[in-house]
Symmetry: C2
Subunit: 225 residues, 2 copies
DNA sequence: GTATGGTAAAAAATCGATTATTTTGTCTAA
DNA sequence: TTAGACAAAATAATCGATTTTTTACCATAC
């Protein structure tokens, strides 16, 4: 019997995990305003789920740091602050730099292929497509691939968390084409340096890359307040 | 009217947050066997809560990394592995070292007082009292205090997470009095070096401290398997 | 005017029961 | 004996309703 049919609208997984993924994307993408208190009943409607799976997702997001939970008074979207942005950027510098050096040491030829693929897909991405969501997806994937073979699951976990937090700032405003091009170029330079196994140069470039992204994020934050 | 009476058994907070705290302690303290599948109904009994708050707590713990959640098949206690222990210890070296240097730079006299207090309470702790739980509490608190003024909330968050993970290994077996004494001494030496603002020496000592703790944890893990 | 207290409405948290999925056990056919 | 099919049991996930707590509003006293 053929059980492999797509079953139409069964995206696999529980209602809770689906709403978690969706909410996470929306929080990182700035679909909620920082500091806002979440109206659970409205979210039920918005995501078409019941209360239980929704609350489970909210609890997970709170533990993950994309929400803050106050006992007996629900969930809110964390406030943004200059201090926190600085903190996040600095931690990205430290942790991603560390991870990149390790990745260049350990990464094999499969990694090289993945990296080339991820960079290529990112370049090809249609930035106009639904609010740049496809580009965002591929951009995240590229940075994930870059550090993937660092050998530490905890380091990767922290980096992913920081990325989500950083993007809350970076994605506050619309795309900035000029600086955008510069950052895109750096992605390819990063791949080259990685393939050449030049850990030192790669780390310096990544530092610069994060620094430039930080400037973008900071500007958007300041315009946004 | 006097509303400030203790209200006997009202430890404040929601059922969910209470069971979260309790479960976290039990998971870190090794009250569950690694790899074990959690029987939710049994937990309901054990912690005297309903299904909803219990599941919310489990979801938070999964996001925090003290449980693994598999869609449609509940929660289990994460397995232990040599590789992961190595990873955790290495990350502790990196992150706590970084945090300690920053703390020594930024910490003020209030911090000095807190640190002395935490070290003193740790020394005074009755290690025989209920399975050393009081000592564990104070030990955690000491290490938290040590790095507290590092200036990065994310760094502190990651360090706390790593501590919980590390303790799953360290607390596998019973106390080892010989090495225990050596580690206790180091706590006081750390305070001294911190007060002297000798960041370099302090970091080296902390490295050694974590290294020794790692040896303990590794031995316990190997005996435990 | 400000503060205090009381009530109604809203929202959060929790419960009890239902539904969906996985696991277990048994039987049958090769 | 073993693989597969099926049913029954166990467990996970979700729903709908209830309970608890907070918030908003208004009246009264100082």
């Amino acid at each position: 019997m053929n059980n492999s049919l797509p079953k139409s609208a069964t995206p696999a997984g529980t209602a809770s995990s689906r709403v978690f993924d969706h909410l996470r994307k929306d929080l990182v993408g700035g679909r909620f305003v920082a500091g806002e208190k979440l109206a659970i009943n409205a979210l039920k409607e918005r995501y078409q789920v019941g209360l239980s799976p929704l609350r489970e997702a909210l609890n997970k997001l709170a533990a993950y740091g994309l929400l803050v939970q106050e006992n007996q008074r629900g969930f809110r979207v964390p406030k943004l602050s200059r201090d926190e942005l600085d903190d996040i950027a600095r931690m990205r510098l430290e942790l991603e730099g560390m991870a990149l050096e390790r990745a260049i040491t350990h990464g094999n030829s499969l990694w090289e292929a993945d990296l080339l693929g991820a960079a290529h897909r990112l370049k090809r991405a249609d930035i106009t497509l639904d609010k740049g969501e496809e580009w965002e997806q591929l951009h995240t994937q590229f940075h994930r691939t870059l550090v993937a073979p660092c050998g530490s699951v905890w380091l990767l976990r922290f980096i992913e968390q920081l990325h989500d937090q950083f993007d809350r700032y970076r994605r506050l405003g619309p795309k900035m084409p000029t600086i955008r091009q510069e950052l895109d170029d750096q992605h390819h330079q990063l791949v080259e340096l990685a393939l050449q196994r030049d850990a030192k140069a790669a780390r310096e470039l990544l530092d610069d890359h994060i620094h430039k992204s930080y400037e973008v994020a900071l500007k958007r934050y300041q315009e946004h307040v």
